[in-house]
């Protein structure tokens, strides 16, 4: 479903270019839970941003269902971010002025005009409430993010990422800002989602998280150092595990 090949990305830091990715490649099959680990500064987040078309690589391609994201126009890439991908961030990134329910609805609001929204709002609201029930936050629907704990905020972020039923979930250190117990809850939730068929690519600096994944890769200095290591969970029958191309 997702195939990144030879991704290069550098940033200008001061006068010198900082080469973050140096030909990184990664694949994820439908229904797979892939974890990318690496030390801080290894390029994990940059890789995830490129996979989510939030950024453009200097070189390389990211194919989603056979189409290179960077051959697409701006509009198509925005639709990809809205419908095909759900992002989960380390710092939750919820809109502080909106309630939990409104945060979850936001991806739907983004792609519908004023009049279109009037047609779909009942269904959208029902979907969002179902998701909040799934992540255990029904009672918190009208609360603001500032009234929630870290774990609850991350659950809201997960619900928001899922509201458009994306094919791919990209999680950037979703437990990085949580204590161990709450982090474990979030990982269990992600595992449940994956078991229900959700494809997940998650980056983390915590190698222990790999126990929840089908496989993990280790990124170091912008290149894959350890590819296709088996994760803690058995790969389900029929799920084609792909080799990571170095």
């Amino acid at each position: 479903m997702l195939r990144a090949r030879g991704l290069h990305k550098s940033y200008i830091m001061g006068r010198a270019p900082l080469r973050v990715l140096r030909g990184t490649s990664l694949q994820a099959a439908r229904g797979e839970f892939v974890v990318v680990t690496g030390a801080s500064g290894s390029g994990k987040s940059t890789l995830l941003h490129l996979l989510g078309a939030l950024d453009i690589p200097d070189r390389g391609t990211v194919e989603f269902n056979g189409r290179n994201l960077f051959d697409l126009g701006d509009h198509a890439r925005r639709l990809y971010r809205n419908r095909d991908v759900g992002f989960i961030f380390q710092f939750y990134h919820l809109l502080p002025e909106c309630t939990v329910l409104e945060n979850v609805l936001m991806p739907r609001l983004v792609t519908h005009s004023f009049w279109a929204w009037r047609r779909i709002r009942r269904n959208a609201r029902r979907d969002a409430e179902e998701l909040l029930e799934r992540v255990g936050l029904t009672e918190r629907a009208k609360h603001r993010p500032s009234e929630l704990s870290g774990g609850e905020r991350q659950r809201v972020a997960i619900a928001r990422a899922l509201v458009n039923r994306p094919k791919l979930l990209l999680a950037d250190e979703p437990t990085g800002n949580l204590d161990e117990e709450v982090g474990e809850d979030i990982l269990r939730l992600l595992t449940e989602l994956n078991e229900a068929g959700q494809t997940i690519v998650m980056i983390t600096h915590d190698a222990k998280v790999a126990s929840h994944a089908h496989r993990y890769v280790r990124l170091s200095e912008g290149v894959i150092r350890e590819a296709s290591s088996p994760g803690g969970r058995p790969i389900p029958a029929g799920l084609a595990t792909r080799e990571v191309i170095p």
């Binding site: 939030l54 950024d55 701006d74 971010r81 919820l94 002025e97 909106c98 983004v110 279109a116």
Partner: protein, 529 residues
């Protein structure tokens, strides 16, 4: 949809937006007050200018006047019966107004009018004080002084015709407050024509303990501009120190047909003060007196004068006021009457003398707007200039909204990153901030319109309040601005125009911050907390 949703959510959750709302509100209120006051000033000037004259005026252009005005009036009514309702001549001159009882004198513009015709072509009647309460009693013909006295019912009464006129007013008056206000005003029974300042009131008549009567020699009546004779009170009414019917006098110099003084001494005409007139324009009310046309024409030697060859000169007037039929177009009528005047003059040429020919050649037909154009145009320019200056000052609001939105965008960088990560476009994010600014402008405009309207509606009370604290704060002086009151009407169209411009200006003010927001790099915005 998210643009509208978030714009209105930010509107009431972001405190900083209130500063934008406040700045827009104050600017809208300021411009609306200026526009309403200046617009009201202009409208009042126009309305009162219209009421000063007839719709069309044949203006002689000289103080010595022009002949054949009467003949032209008849010619006009015959030639343009569908256009002209009636005509009435006016004489104007300059002289000295004197109150013999006090030896008080003042320069005055003297107008000779035929009262019935004059009030039929303009709004003059509406400004007459005694005529309101004693309808039909203001006359410019020969009359004595009414003296109130003890009547049959053993109370102070005016002569029967004045009491009957007052009863007529009471029956016609539909506003009970006006009657109550009149009754509360003390009935003067001053033994002398000149009433001391200690005795103030609306009904100023000479009186004693004899029967009500008319007393003294008959003189022609004169209507005096209210500011020329009376003292204006703070409530806009007047203290009248001269009893109705008191003797006054006018001094003026007759002019010959060619504008010379004829070597005669100035005339001194004793008159009776019968009423005072309030047009609402200070320059007129403090300067004009109105006397009988035929009397003044005779006194100023503008009536037919004997010639050495045995004939007589033609009578002269300075203006011929021409009232139009209902619904006819002003400018079209002016052009027709101008054409009629030229035809009429051409028909006179074989028989008219050189002096009269020069006089009629100087006469010109104007609309009331033409006559008042210099004054109205000056006020129009003043209105445009002041509104422009205040609008320019209000542009500060655009800059302020720009600054506020720049700060908001800076604070909302992460939200912009979030929105972009879930599919929002740069244009959409820019739209969000422009709508937000529009909402700030809209709320500010609504509040500003309310504030501005309240200020305008109560502007005279506000001025009175300020003046009661410090007289120096009374900024609207009728001596300077012609009118007694500051115009206090807000036009809906002005309010809508100002509010719309304010909303648009707010949106313009947000364009640069919105553009910055549209270019926010989501990765940079989302990387850190």
């Amino acid at each position: 949809m998210y643009k509208w949703f978030l714009a209105f959510r930010y509107l009431y959750t972001k405190l900083i937006a209130l500063f934008g709302v406040a700045s827009v509100m104050l600017c809208v209120a300021m411009v609306l007050v200026v526009l309403s006051v200046m617009g009201g000033f202009l409208d009042t000037v126009r309305a009162r200018s219209k009421g000063l004259h007839s719709e069309i005026v044949l203006e002689g252009g000289t103080l010595q006047g022009f002949p054949y005005y009467e003949e032209f009036g008849e010619y006009l009514e015959g030639q343009l019966p569908g256009t002209v309702e009636l005509t009435t001549p006016v004489i104007y001159s300059y002289g000295i107004f004197r109150v013999p009882a006090t030896t008080w004198t003042k320069a005055a513009r003297i107008l000779g009018i035929r009262l019935d015709g004059y009030v039929a072509v303009n709004d003059f009647e509406n400004g007459l004080h005694y005529e309101r309460y004693y309808p039909g009693t203001t006359r410019l013909g020969l009359q004595s002084m009414p003296v109130a006295g003890i009547g049959e019912s053993n109370v102070l009464q005016l002569p029967p015709d004045l009491e009957a006129a007052n009863d007529k007013w009471r029956r016609q008056e539909t506003d009970p407050e006006a009657i109550a206000s009149f009754d509360q005003s003390p009935f003067q029974h001053a033994p002398y024509p000149y009433v001391t300042p200690a005795i103030l009131g609306e009904r100023v008549y000479a009186a004693d303990l004899g029967p009500p009567r008319y007393e003294g020699p008959e003189h022609y009546g004169v209507i005096v501009g209210c500011d020329l004779l009376n003292e204006r009170r703070e409530d806009g009414n007047f203290n009248r120190y001269l009893a109705r019917g008191a003797e006054v006098a006018l001094m003026a110099g007759p002019l010959s047909r060619i504008g010379t003084t004829r070597g005669e001494p100035p005339i001194l005409v004793p008159l009776r003060y019968v009423d005072d007139s309030r047009t609402g324009i200070f320059e007129i009310d403090s300067f004009c007196v109105y006397a009988d046309f035929d009397m003044l024409q005779h006194k100023l030697a503008m009536d037919p004068q004997p010639l050495v060859d045995g004939g007589f000169t033609k009578a002269r007037a300075n203006q011929l006021l021409i009232g139009l039929k209902e619904g006819v177009d002003l400018n079209t009528s002016r052009d027709r009457i101008r054409g009629a005047w030229l035809t009429f003059c051409a028909s006179l040429l074989p028989e008219v003398s050189d002096v009269d020919a020069r006089a009629i050649s100087l006469a010109e037909v104007y609309t009331w707007e033409d006559l008042q154009r210099p004054f109205i145009a000056a006020v129009e320019k003043e209105k445009v200039l002041v509104t422009f200056l205040f609008t320019l000052i209000s542009m500060v609001a655009i800059v302020l909204v720009g600054c506020i939105f720049y700060m908001i965008v800076e604070k909302k960088t992460r939200d912009i990153g979030i929105l972009k990560s879930i599919g929002a476009s740069g244009r959409g994010v820019a739209g969000l901030f422009i709508i937000y600014a529009g909402a700030v402008g809209l709320v500010g405009s609504i509040l500003g319109t309310i504030l501005g309207s309240m200020v305008v509606w109560n502007i005279n009370d506000i001025q009175d309040l300020l003046a009661s604290l410090n007289p120096q704060l009374r900024v609207w002086s009728p001596d300077v601005y012609s009118f007694d009151m500051i115009p206090n009407v807000v036009k809906q169209v002005d309010a809508i125009w100002v509010a719309s411009v304010a909303v648009l200006s707010s949106m313009i003010g947000s364009l640069i911050p919105a553009r910055i927001a549209s270019r926010v790099w989501p990765v940079g915005a989302l990387r850190y907390e």
